[in-house]
């Protein structure tokens, strides 16, 4: 049956080469209809107590029309979502080398801790005396983030890395306006993370690019030449998205400060240097820390994450509400501007979110930090960097590593598609062929600094055997492409739950929710 867009309204057999069986499935390849195609409005998977008889006080606003929700019995729900889960690749199944995304092992202890009723089942507006342990936990994590970065203040509430970035840039803007120094331009190097220009624009700044030099770093001379009284801030990602450390960072920060501007550092890649380098020692004014990347929270198909922001002394007074203070043997949540003006944050620019940020992620981050300790976090950064350099060293003879000769990489190895030139195989084809080999592909076409980029981040939780297996696949595919075996790449993947999906169709004729198919009779 077809829908209005002329697309099939029900799944077809997993193995299209063979005739579909009664179930439409082949062995363990399970197809699963949408729950709206299985469920019905009068089926229910929960048993609720009866409703006491009272006179309604809804004011005549009762919802009469059908909502259109489908229900299933509990066992059917379990089966539906279990079948769906099997169409996903995940870090629990194998290496997930997405550069800049940091897919590392997710310890289950952290999950268990976050679900303790004392953390998972407390309300953000309970009396503060009933949540002293939670406030103590936030205070301790905040203190440790300050120690790890050598920065005097931290705002815990931002809900994701990009949200933290916004928080940091708002603090910069507030600090400059407080000085009566309105500046209009933010400089963003080409090697910065993807969200940076959008964030700066969102704060009302005009964005200008600073080019990368031949070694994939910020062009220091170009940056210095552009600094002036109109520049509010420079947003730098360090280690940058080429996977490289900015060796001139101290000089960059000094030059930016001399020009009366601030340095925002995108801390998305902090896991490469945690315990080895403190951003405060480099001269950075604000940096968000993706707790989910550096200190591990499962990515859950896209989120949630958490993006606390550390601030220099110059920006600390402008940090957003709320924050936790320890005074007179008690932890206090400062959430009001007027009533409790705190000396440490007396120019707070306001509130970023309704409540206090991502408690669930704080618990996981603290559990991760405690499990590793100061000694282990250092080892985390070292192993992440070692693993990336090992991949770079073992692949650069058959793949193209544009910055491979300009020194070691940090926690991710960047390749370009130069080695595929003339083979008819693109970065996309190469990545899709990795799926047939049982691997999740690397980050593709990002960063934009090199052509056909492939950015590989192994993280510290991969063993040498796992890396060797990935390396063999990368080398094998590179050699196959060069040998002219283009058929292997042309329509890959061949063995995934789906062949290549038509993204153009999805964008040109967007279908974002399920509609009942037209009755067959009407279609004739």
């Amino acid at each position: 049956m077809m829908n209005a867009q002329g697309r099939p309204t029900a799944p077809v057999a997993a193995n299209a080469d063979a005739p579909a069986g009664i179930t439409g499935n082949r062995a363990l390849m399970l197809e699963e209809p949408l729950l709206f195609e299985k469920g019905s409005p009068d089926r229910c998977g929960v048993d609720l107590p009866p409703v006491p008889a009272v006179a309604s006080r809804l004011g005549g606003l009762d919802r009469h029309r059908p909502i259109g929700l489908a229900g299933l019995a509990e066992g059917e729900v379990v089966r539906h979502f279990t079948r769906l889960s099997r169409q996903n690749y995940a870090i629990d199944m194998g290496i997930f080398p997405l550069g800049s995304c940091t897919m590392k092992h997710n310890p289950r202890l952290n999950e268990k801790m976050a679900r303790l009723p004392g953390f998972g089942d407390i309300h953000p507006l309970q009396p503060q005396d009933t949540v002293q342990g939670a406030l103590e936990l936030i205070h301790r994590l905040a203190d440790w983030l300050c120690k790890l970065t050598n920065m005097p203040a931290v705002s815990m509430s931002p809900k994701a890395g990009a949200h933290g970035e916004l928080c940091g840039m708002l603090a910069i803007r507030a600090a400059q306006e407080a000085k009566g120094d309105a500046r209009s331009v933010v400089l963003v190097p080409e090697s910065a993370h993807g969200t940076n220009p959008a964030t700066a624009a969102f704060c009302g700044y005009r964005v200008e690019d600073i080019p990368a030099n031949a070694a994939g770093r910020v062009d220091l001379a170009a940056l210095k030449a552009r600094l002036g009284p109109d520049v509010a801030a420079v947003m730098i990602t360090n280690p940058n998205t080429c996977g490289l450390f900015e060796p001139d960072m101290i000089d960059i920060c000094a030059a930016v400060h001399a020009a009366g501007a601030f340095v925002y550092c995108d801390g998305a890649n902090f896991n490469a240097i945690v315990g080895k380098v403190r951003p405060g020692d480099l001269g950075i004014d604000a940096m968000h820390i993706n707790l989910h990347k550096t200190f591990s929270t499962p990515h859950g198909g896209g989120g949630p994450g958490s993006g606390p922001v550390v601030f220099s002394a110059a920006l600390a007074p402008f940090a957003p509400l709320p924050f936790v203070e320890h005074q007179h043997g008690r932890f206090e949540l400062i959430e009001e501007e007027q009533a409790h003006a705190s000396a440490a944050h007396d120019h707070s620019f306001g509130r970023m979110v309704a409540f206090h940020g991502q408690m669930g992620m704080y618990v996981r981050a603290l559990a991760y930090i405690m499990s590793h300790g100061a000694d282990g976090l250092r080892q985390v950064a070292e192993d992440a960097v070692l693993n990336a350099n090992y991949i770079l060293a073992r692949c650069k003879d058959v793949m193209s590593a544009p910055f491979g000769d300009s020194g070691p990489c940090m926690h991710e190895a960047l390749f370009s598609d130069d080695f595929l030139e003339g083979t008819g195989v693109s970065t996309l084809d190469f990545a899709k062929a990795m799926i047939d080999e049982g691997f999740h592909p690397m980050t593709m076409y990002f960063p934009l600094v090199v052509h056909g980029a492939m950015l590989i981040e192994p993280t510290e939780t991969e063993s040498r055997a796992n890396l060797d297996q990935l390396i063999e696949v990368l080398r094998g595919l590179a050699l196959a492409a060069k040998a002219g075996d283009s058929a292997r790449f042309a329509a890959a993947p061949y063995h995934a739950p789906r062949a290549r999906l038509d993204e153009t169709l999805a964008a040109r004729k967007p279908v974002l929710s399920w509609r009942e198919p037209a009755p067959a009779a009407a279609a004739e």
């Binding site: 099939p8 077809v12 949408l34 469920g39 229910c44 107590p49 009272v54 809804l58 929700l69 229900g71 979502f81 279990t82 996903n88 690749y89 629990d92 995304c101 801790m113 009723p117 953390f119 407390i122 309300h123 953000p124 507006l125 009933t130 949540v131 120690k147 994701a160 990009a162 949200h163 940076n196 959008a198 624009a201 490289l244 060796p247 315990g275 080895k276 859950g300 198909g301 896209g302 007027q338 509130r351 309704a354 409540f355 940020g357 559990a367 499990s371 590793h372 300790g373 282990g376 070292e382 070692l386 060293a393 070691p408 980050t443 290549r500 999906l501 993204e503 964008a507 279908v511 929710s513």
Partner: protein
């Protein structure tokens, strides 16, 4: 170190393959002045699992969980029963430990549930299209303001007095450095219908207004018909943005989409997700199809694969940071995927019938509690119409009353003094939330505690 698989021999061999003398050779781009010689002071040494568990368990034990006794705290976060199968299913590794579905061929599990989620949310809010979730209700509301600006090319927003004050603060913060104008109405403590003055709001709409924002049920628990407000906004070329912080209410009361709203945002925590002290939560965002391309956030769309099979992909992402990044509609680059999954699973368990039953149960329980409390001498019920939350005025200040109730083992509500510190006239007000988890015994204990305090 139990999470790190490399052995000292591995590290030595790998350094040899790389051609580095030691690990610090790999950090040679770090300026000498910024290199730390050893572990950072002030953090513990690494700890075995058993000790981490003991220490965090001790911290958790210092808190009073909602499940420990009578609990009536709401105002934007609600204690509902979440069926055991929800948390079990979201902990399947293939969901829990997967990433943003950038490779759709091997992420159909995530993509299909996002498509199901979008369908459920659009229907629940009575809108045509929904996105794949945002950080939380407050940030979703602010994104709705910016979308209102894109649609109407105007920049003034009217925020009703019944909007959650924290949501209002977020909107004020995020528009602070734009030339947008946020007009926040003060809540009016009108007996019968506390919170909003819809007539004043209608009066204020003019040709500069991009959008009117109204929460329903509002912070004070009052439910209102938004149809007139929608008509007034439309007559002046403005949009109506409706905010729902208690989505279970939509199983009982008419959805904002049925009352003419153009954008509906919400906090989805109530379905499938725990309280978590404020996060992670789940922002819902839905609108009319004609505004689809102005909608922020991540979207999952249906398509076909090369063999003609139905499949799902992330779509319309050019509005995000992929190209012309400084022109992006927002800087968001994620969604609350796992919270959306919990929502989808819980909603599939409930179905239409279960959601309606749950909503009726919440309402009936709340009516019972409201009537009990209204009978206490000196306590007055402010609401005529409400869903599962209502406001009472006490003869005493709310904040100390709540602390005293907590001492008696009852977490009694949210004091308006905490939410509106500058409004002395609200100091005696308390918002009380009642869900299906409240038992008869809980009601008795709340009643007793309150009588004790006000006598």
């Amino acid at each position: 170190m139990r999470y790190l698989p490399l052995t000292p021999d591995d590290r030595r061999d790998m350094l040899r393959v790389i051609g580095a003398s030691d690990i610090d050779a790999l950090f040679r781009d770090v300026p000498e002045a910024a290199r730390l010689p050893g572990p950072i002071a002030g953090l513990p040494h690494h700890m075995p699992e058993m000790l981490v568990e003991r220490e965090l368990g001790a911290l958790a034990a210092k808190n009073v969980p909602a499940g420990a006794g009578p609990f009536f705290v709401g105002c934007g976060a609600y204690k509902h029963h979440v069926p055991a199968s929800v948390d079990h299913l979201i902990q399947r590794g293939e969901f829990l430990t997967s990433y943003t579905p950038y490779q759709p061929e091997i992420a159909q599990g995530t993509l299909q549930y996002l498509f199901e989620f979008q369908t459920q949310v659009a229907r629940l809010l009575a809108m045509e299209v929904a996105n794949a979730s945002m950080y939380d209700g407050s940030t979703a509301m602010t994104e709705a303001l910016f979308m209102g600006r894109r649609v109407t090319r105007r920049k003034k927003y009217l925020l009703s007095g019944g909007t959650h004050p924290h949501y209002v603060s977020v909107a004020e913060t995020l528009t602070r450095f734009t030339d947008d104008e946020v007009v926040s109405f003060e809540p009016a403590l009108t007996p019968g219908a506390p919170g909003d003055d819809l007539a004043a709001l209608i009066e204020a709409i003019d040709g500069e207004t991009a959008a009117v924002v109204v929460q329903n049920p509002n912070l004070f628990g009052h439910v209102a018909d938004l149809s007139e407000l929608a008509a007034a906004a439309h007559a002046k070329g403005a949009l109506l943005i409706a905010v729902v912080t208690e989505v279970v209410s939509l199983g009982a009361i008419r959805a904002p989409g049925e009352m003419g709203a153009d954008i509906v945002v919400g906090e989805g925590q109530s379905i499938g997700n725990g309280l978590n002290f404020g996060g992670p939560y789940l922002g819902l965002f839905a609108t009319r199809e004609k505004y689809m391309r102005q909608m922020p956030g991540r979207l999952c769309g249906e398509t076909v694969d090369a063999n003609g099979k139905r499949g799902f992909v992330l779509t319309l992402s050019t509005r995000e940071q992929h190209i012309r990044r400084e022109k992006a509609t927002s800087n968001i680059c994620t969604n609350s995927g796992l919270c959306a999954l919990a929502f989808t699973i819980h909603m599939s368990l409930l179905g239409e019938k279960g959601l309606r039953h749950l909503a009726e149960l919440n309402h009936a329980r709340a009516v019972q509690v409201a009537e009990r409390l209204a009978a206490i001498p000196g306590v007055s019920l402010m609401n005529d119409h409400f869903f599962n939350e209502f406001t009472v005025m006490l003869p005493i200040s709310g904040r100390p009353a709540l602390r005293a109730m907590a001492e008696m083992g009852v977490l009694g509500g949210v004091s308006l003094g905490r939410l509106y510190p500058a409004r002395a006239d609200l100091d005696h007000g308390m918002v009380i939330a009642v869900t299906e988890t409240v038992s008869d015994d809980d009601i008795d204990k709340l009643d007793k505690a309150l009588r004790e305090l006000v006598k």
